[in-house]
């Protein structure tokens, strides 16, 4: 065990882990219809490979990655494609997105799965296997993992490969259960990642409120040289920047990536899917999701991608009385769903139904008294109260100068604010306004360039015409004079 490097701020939040982490991972039922979004990841939307009426097998690729930063999408079960059209998805905007709808045939028949013996593969081929299996970061961001597993372009070796099992958000326990029950599989995936990245050291960060997971992972890591590092239970220790700092003492630069400080970080569930993809030939068609809060039977479910949230809730025995919000993700950073008819995606780690018991009563907002409680908990060492003043006054340049974009929207400041100001909402607003202004500026610049090019072209054409005219000038004059005579 190496020494830890605590980060500034953070919060001790309510935990609510025991509601869902006392039972084994259940296998969710196969729903009659699955709606599989083609955009479940950061990057370009996958290109559909199927049409309505096509018969698909479980694990068959139905969406092809479009570009380097994109991910493949696979059929979660066998059946018939009934539609390829925009459907409601889990997105804060509430807008629909392109989905492949599959009517299950109930047979759940696999394609021919082809495990690979990875030490015999060239790293680029191995990365292709992972890429074609649709592996993305399952911690929530859903960034295509094959991209992060590509060390090319970096001169020196990676210092540290970190596996993130912190799971710092309250209520969520899917990683906890996965580590307890399938530690060896996670470590097998981690070995593949280490094979590709060649790090000097491998660390697994787990919050110390999960002793069973720590024990299971430690047992699985025997004779691998990997270090299982219990970390203090303090939100947001599972945020990449904070976890890297905690374990290595290195700070990822503002606007930088973990690789900039020689670190790469993956979620434990991602390592598990890498293992399934490489050693079993199974693409990412399911994930483990925590369903908890005000439902009758909370727990963790291994569920097929595309299963409607409502079907999952029904398997938990339905909602209890007084559910007010359905949150996708944790209560700190998750977003409230409009409805439960959207489908499970690769990024969906928790479905949390909350009522008045969990939610603080909505209190009226008072003016900021500049007490600095927000500053004391900010893990990015920002001055949230000043960002708030600037965002409120629409002084976006000042907000940016105060490092608005270092804000990770962890929500600590909003939680502790004695004036109950929805601070994070102001930062999101300011960020969106800045992005919109930037797009506007880009568009204006493009328009200006187009206009200039057009003026130059017109000028050039005019000059060419005049040059031609000048060449022809004597004859023209003659013609003109003769024309006049005719008139």
């Amino acid at each position: 065990m190496s020494a830890l490097f605590p980060f500034h701020g953070g919060l001790k939040t309510v935990r609510h882990k025991t509601e869902s982490n006392q039972t084994r991972i259940w296998t969710a039922m196969l729903p009659p219809r699955l709606t599989v979004p083609l955009r479940q990841h950061i990057g370009a939307i996958a290109k559909p490979l199927v049409q309505p009426g096509d018969r698909v097998l479980k694990g068959q690729m139905i969406g092809q990655p479009d570009g380097y930063i994109s991910a493949a999408i696979h059929a979660p079960t066998s059946g018939i494609v009934s539609a390829v059209d925009p459907q409601p998805v889990a997105h804060p905007s509430g807008l629909a997105d392109l989905c492949v709808t599959i009517e299950s045939d109930g047979e759940d028949r696999w394609i021919n799965r082809q495990p690979v013996n990875y030490p015999h593969l060239h790293p680029s081929e191995l990365r292709n296997v992972i890429r074609n299996a649709g592996v993305v970061g399952l911690g929530g961001a859903a960034f295509p993992s094959a991209v992060k597993l590509n060390p090319s372009g970096r001169s020196e070796r990676l210092d540290t490969l970190i596996l993130n099992g912190a799971e710092c958000e309250p209520w969520i326990t899917c990683d906890d259960r996965l580590m307890r029950e399938r530690a060896a599989d996670i470590v097998a995936g981690l070995q593949i990642m280490a094979y590709l990245l060649g790090p000097y050291e491998v660390m697994i960060g787990i919050e110390d409120d999960k002793p069973e997971a720590i024990a299971a992972m430690s047992a699985a890591c025997v004779r691998t040289g990997y270090m299982v590092c219990p970390i203090p239970t303090r939100y947001p220790s599972g945020s990449v920047k904070q976890l890297v700092r905690l374990l290595t003492g290195k700070e990822i630069p503002v606007d930088g990536l973990p690789v900039d400080v020689g670190v790469q970080c993956f979620n434990v569930a991602t390592a598990y899917t890498v293992h399934r993809a490489v050693n079993f030939g199974e693409p990412v068609i399911s994930r483990i999701i925590t369903v908890t809060g005000q439902v009758h039977g909370p727990g963790n479910f291994e569920v097929l991608i595309g299963t409607p949230f409502a079907a999952l809730i029904a398997q938990c025995g339905g909602y209890r009385e007084g559910v007010e919000r359905l949150i996708l993700g944790g209560p700190m950073m998750g977003f409230a769903l409009h409805s439960d008819d959207a489908p499970v995606t690769k990024a969906a780690n928790c479905l949390l139904a909350v009522g008045p018991a969990e939610l603080a009563p909505e209190l009226p907002v008072l003016p900021c008294i500049r007490c600095g409680a927000c500053m004391d908990v900010c893990p990015a060492d920002l001055l949230p109260q000043q960002l708030y003043w600037h965002a409120r006054a629409k002084e976006f340049d000042q907000a940016r100068d105060c490092h608005l974009f270092s804000c990770i929207e962890c929500g600590c400041c909003s939680v502790v604010c004695p004036s109950h100001i929805p601070l994070v909402q102001y930062y999101r607003y300011a960020k969106n306004e800045i992005w919109a202004l930037e797009k506007e500026k880009q568009r204006a610049e493009q328009a200006r360039q187009r206009h200039q090019a057009r003026m130059e072209r017109l000028e050039r054409e005019k000059q060419e015409r005049e040059a031609k005219l000048r060449q022809k000038a004597p004859r023209v004059e003659v013609v003109a004079s003769s024309g006049k005579q005719e008139g």
């Binding site: 939040t13 700190m332 950073m333 439960d340 500053m375 270092s406 600590c412 109950h420």
Partner: protein, 343 residues
């Protein structure tokens, strides 16, 4: 099923502005108890009058500004302002002084600048300074503490009569006198040494007799505010540090004519100001380093005003002067952001 959509985070701690303000009130209780013990009923009457006036003025201004009354009256900020001002007033101050002070604090310094959170100056100190400049004689006539000379035995009725009806037949001049800092200042001016002055009966173990116990009470309450993180530790640390450094430097140069640092720290409103006045977050600096600088600035100014200015104590003026500087201090003391390169 459809649900309400609210943005994250979905958790909230049950803290509130009213809780912060109530803690400040609780923390003042030990100091106020000592003041009442040594100076009698006047302290309590001033507190009650100031509280009623402050709530009335706050309600009137909120109504004029069409703000929800119950919500803002319930934040206790007006009560805090009232108590801070009342504690600073002489125990037998006529009622209209308290009224004028509160009106200046709540109406002018607070609401005309936009109300809670928007006032650039500490409202209680504005009220205090208005009174100090307008009525210097009344403001310097403090009751002689219980236990010096003849024990004053002003009954509640006598006190009420003095405050609301004037002294009348009561021997008010025999009951009041200069504050210890005032005595020090006057006697130094007359060419006496600090050691000689310290023999005066107005002085006790460390500082003014009676006063020093109130200071101990405010220190206790103030440390509790720091412990509960209601107030930022940097401000009192900076203030007392700044004052101590100045006082020590001058004491080392000439102990005959400059009072020792412990006397300065324990006298007047230094402790009270450090923990209760300067820590008002609205008007103070908000960055960690900024708070130290802000506090140190106040401490240095207190010493300069006490030693070389026209007033025996300088907490109110020093706080107001540093209030002006707070935004600039904040601008130059931004902490290093996570991942930002060392400058």
């Amino acid at each position: 099923m459809r649900f309400k959509t609210v943005t994250s985070p979905h958790l909230h701690q049950q803290t509130g502005v009213n809780q912060v303000m109530r803690r400040v009130l609780y923390a003042m209780v030990p100091g106020i108890t000592a003041l009442v013990w040594f100076f009698g009923w006047g302290i309590l009457i001033n507190l009650a009058l100031a509280t009623v006036m402050a709530l009335g003025a706050e309600a009137a201004m909120l109504a004029a500004r069409s703000k929800p009354l119950a919500l803002h009256l319930g934040d206790y900020s007006a009560v805090v302002t009232a108590w801070l001002l009342a504690v600073a007033l002489p125990p037998l101050a006529p009622w209209w002084m308290t009224v004028i002070g509160i009106l200046a604090a709540i109406v002018v310094a607070k609401h005309l600048y936009g109300g809670l959170g928007y006032n650039p100056f500490n409202p209680a100190m504005i009220g205090y300074v208005v009174l100090l400049i307008s009525f210097p004689r009344e403001m310097s006539a403090w009751l002689i503490p219980h236990g010096i000379g003849q024990p004053h035995a002003l009954s509640l009725l006598d006190t009420l009569q003095i405050i609301f009806g004037g002294a009348g037949s009561l021997p008010i001049d025999a009951l009041t006198g200069a504050t210890p800092l005032d005595v020090l200042r006057t006697q130094l001016g007359l060419g006496q040494t600090v050691a000689e002055i310290r023999n005066s009966p107005v002085f006790g173990i460390v500082a003014g007799r009676g006063w020093e116990w109130a200071t101990a009470g405010f220190l206790t309450g103030g440390l509790w505010l720091i412990y509960t993180r209601t107030a930022a530790w940097q401000i009192p640390a900076g203030l007392l540090g700044g004052l101590a450094v100045m006082a020590t430097a001058f004491y080392l140069i000439d102990p005959q004519h400059y009072a020792p640092p412990w006397f300065h720290l324990w006298s007047g409103a230094a402790i009270f100001g450090a923990f209760f006045i300067a820590t008002d977050p609205v008007t103070a600096s908000t960055t960690p380093r900024g708070r130290l600088i802000y506090g140190a600035g106040i401490g240095i100014l207190i010493y300069l005003i006490r030693g070389f200015g026209g007033y025996p104590d300088g907490v109110a003026f020093s706080v107001l002067l540093m209030n002006i500087a707070a935004p600039t201090i904040d601008l130059y003391t931004r902490p290093r952001v996570f991942g930002e390169r060392q400058p």
